[in-house]
Every structure is written in C-alpha cells, then in structure tokens.
C-alpha cells in the first residue's frame, strides 16, 4: 500500500515539476522579445570572459566582481612587471589596475590594452591604425606573468618532490612518503614508454627529459582544472618551447642512420630518393609541430567547452538549466582529468618515439 502511495506522490511531483518548467519557459519566452539585447549582451560577456581566461595576464586574480556602483573589484595579488625600454624597468602590476589606470614610472607612462603593455601619455591614450592595431610603441615585456610564475612554481615543486623521493631511497630500497605514489609512475614511463620506443641501449640518456616533460605537463594540466585559473599549456608559446626541446634533442642526438634515411633513403630507386628527401626533411619539422598543436589545442578546446557549458547556466537562468549545466560540467571535468594525463602520456610517448627513430640502428639493413 505504502509503495503505491509513494509512486503516486512521485508521479504527481514529477507532473507539477514538468508543468512549472513549462510555465517558466513560457514566461521567459514572453520576456524574450524585450530582453533580447540584454541576453545578447550576456552572451558576448561570456565569450569575452572565456577568451580573457585563455589569455596570460600580468596579475594573479582568484575572482572578480562588479559592485552595485559599477566598480570592478579584484581578489588576488599583483605580479612584477619587468620591461626593457632603453634600460630595465620594474614595477608592480598593481599600478596598472587591470588596465583601468596608467602606471607612471620616472615620468614615463605605461598602460595595458588587451593584456599587452604599451607606452602611452599621462592619460593613457592609445592610437589605432586603419586595422584597429595600436600604433603606440611597445616595450619588450619580460614580466613575471601568471604563466611564468606558475611554470617556476611547478618547477620548484617538482624539484622538492623528486629530491625528497631520491633522499628516501638512501634509507631503504622501499620509498617512503610521496615516493610511494611516484615510483610506479616513473617505472611506467621507463618500462612502457622509454624502453619499448628507444631501446635498451640508448634509453638512459633520454629518461631525465621524458620524466620531466611527463610530470611537468601532467601537473600543469591538472592545475589548469583547479579554480586557480592556471592555463599554462593552452599558451602556444609554452607548448612551442616544449616541442622545440624535443626537436633539438632529436636533431642533436641523431646518428648517421637517421640522416641517411632522411636525405638518401636506402633501398628505393634514385628518382624516389630525390623526391623523398624534401618530404622527409619537412617531416622532421612537422613532427614537433604536431606535438605543439596537439597539446595546445586539446587543452584549449577542453577549457573553452568546459567554460561554455558553465556559461549555459547564466543563459538558461532557470532551475532546469543549472543542474543540467552543472552535471555536464562535472562529467566533462572528469573527462578533462583523463585528458590531462593522456596528453602528458601522448607527449612523452611521441617524444620517445622520435628519439627512438633518431638512435635506431639498422643492423639488418644490409641484408635486404
């Protein structure tokens, strides 16, 4: 008896819920015509927020809000700005006030426009050419931006982590502390990434780079999923630098066989050798280029999709949209956890593969 009552109650509840959602939808549709331009504003605002999040910035902001009076309040802390403009100039980014005011230093003025620092006059006017590009002079920017700060922090964190792990091996062969977590991962990188791809003979000299890049990309990808707003690997300059290191390692540790296979492919007819040489040479650049694009695009796409789905909450503005967007965002965040590790794995794996190509020895090539 009780069970039937509960079922009835539940179905009644469900019905009312459906109706109330309908009613809400209709009332929103009525308002839609009048509010159409405010809705559009919200959409552009969300777009701007997302594109702003993807950029590097000169200060570290945890969150920001607008007061009733229309003032922007930022919670966070400033980072040092280091400029090279006829001599080194250092000041705190709090002077820039997130682009809302002009920083003055010994009679020279700098202001922020689209996250880039320009030299301006006392009012901070920025002049534009026909293509809407600023014509103000741009000092060389060596600032400790958010990305740089987090790269240094992760570097220090890794130094501390692996040093403490290495020390624990001096006491016994069984690691203690964080080493218990790290040992299987390091062994995995060695036994399943480095040795099968590079080979028993040569893998040792690449291990330090492979481990570093694996843990660096992994930790920084994971940090990107926290609400800190760290997004280092979706800066193409960072992935470019990582890919460049892989390229330099491949090029400078390559043996004779590698170059022979690029410029004078053995075992193919002469016309083919001539055709293959430029293609193979181009291939050596495409490999690190694809490494760069893959890491950058995966992380950027993940961030954009995740933030767009969270943004849906503010567009729907009803109570069915919010749980939906929350649920989707939660599922997607779990997927991003996988992607963070997978991209680190793929980057390390492909680097190892390229190193393996560079040191491969074709003992059997004389036989066929």
């Amino acid at each position: 008896m009780h069970r039937i009552n509960i079922v009835k109650l539940l179905s009644l509840l469900l019905l009312t819920v459906t109706f109330s959602v309908h009613a809400q939808d209709e009332s929103q549709n009525d308002n839609h015509a009048e509010n159409s331009h405010t809705v559009k504003d919200l959409k552009t605002e969300i777009k701007e927020y997302i594109s702003h999040h993807l950029l590097d910035s000169h200060d570290f902001t945890l969150f920001s809000y607008t007061t009733v009076e229309g003032d922007h309040k930022y919670i966070g802390f400033p980072l040092p700005v280091i400029l090279w403009d006829n001599g080194i100039k250092i000041f705190s980014s709090s002077k820039l006030h997130h682009g809302e005011s002009v920083a003055e230093l010994n009679g020279e003025y700098f202001s922020l426009y689209h996250n880039k620092i320009y030299k301006t006059d006392a009012e901070g006017t920025i002049t534009f050419d026909n293509h809407q590009h600023p014509t103000n002079s741009k000092p060389l920017d060596f600032s400790l931006t958010k990305n740089v700060a987090f790269i240094i922090l992760v570097g220090l964190f890794m130094l501390w982590m692996f040093n403490s792990m290495a020390k624990s091996y001096k006491k016994s062969t069984i690691p203690s502390g964080i080493g218990r977590f790290l040992e299987p991962i390091i062994l995995y990188v060695r036994n399943d990434i480095a040795i099968p791809n590079i080979g028993e003979k040569h893998y040792k000299k690449y291990m330090s780079y492979l481990l570093t890049v694996f843990f660096f990309v992994w930790i920084i990808n994971l940090l990107g999923l926290t609400p800190l707003g760290v997004n280092v690997t979706n800066n193409i300059a960072v992935t470019f630098a990582l890919a460049l290191i892989t390229y330099l390692f491949t090029t400078f540790t390559a043996n004779k066989n590698y170059w022979k296979h690029i410029f004078w492919m053995p075992g193919v007819p002469l016309p083919m050798k001539i055709i293959l040489a430029p293609i193979e040479l181009l291939g050596t650049f495409i490999k690190p280029f694809s490494l760069m694009i893959r890491l950058y695009a995966n992380i950027t796409a993940g961030h954009i999709v995740l933030m767009s789905i969270i943004g849906l909450m503010f567009i729907f503005k009803n109570w069915i949209g919010s749980p939906l967007s929350f649920g989707l965002a939660f599922a997607l965040a779990l997927l991003e956890l996988l992607v963070a590790a997978l991209q680190a794995y793929i980057f390390t794996m492909l680097s190892a593969l390229y190193f393996g190509m560079a040191v491969e020895e074709h003992e059997h090539s004389e036989h066929h």
């Binding site: 694809s290 694009i293 893959r294 695009a297 796409a301 794995y345 794996m349 492909l350």
Partner: protein, 63 residues
C-alpha cells in the same frame, strides 16, 4: 564564423571521428583475438589516434 567555416569544421569532425572510431574498433577486434597483446595494441591505438587528432586540430585551426 561564416557558414563555410562551420560546414568545414563539421566535416573535419566527421572525418576525424570516423578515423578514430575505426582505429578504436579495430583495436577492440585485435584485443578480442589476442587478449595477451592488449598492452601493445592499446599503445599503438593511442599513437594512431593522437596522430589523427593532431591533423584534425590543425585543420580546425585552418577552418
């Protein structure tokens, strides 16, 4: 974004999806045939999928 761009992006996603789907399906077949080689097959599958994904992303940026 213009309409050709959107159509192009859609075509890229269809192509990349078909490619990665085929790789995944074939890897499943291979693992079913030889479960003891599943580790190697997974590695090879991930590399091939990553290569297709790289080209897909490069094309998406061009579109």
């Amino acid at each position: 974004m213009t309409i050709p761009n959107i159509v192009g992006a859609g075509l890229i996603v269809i192509g990349a999806g078909l490619g990665i789907g085929r790789i995944g399906g074939s890897a499943m077949d291979a693992i079913a045939r030889q479960p003891e080689a599943s580790g190697k097959i997974q590695t090879a599958m991930l590399i091939a999928a990553a290569l297709i994904e790289g080209i897909g992303f490069a094309a998406l940026f061009a579109a």
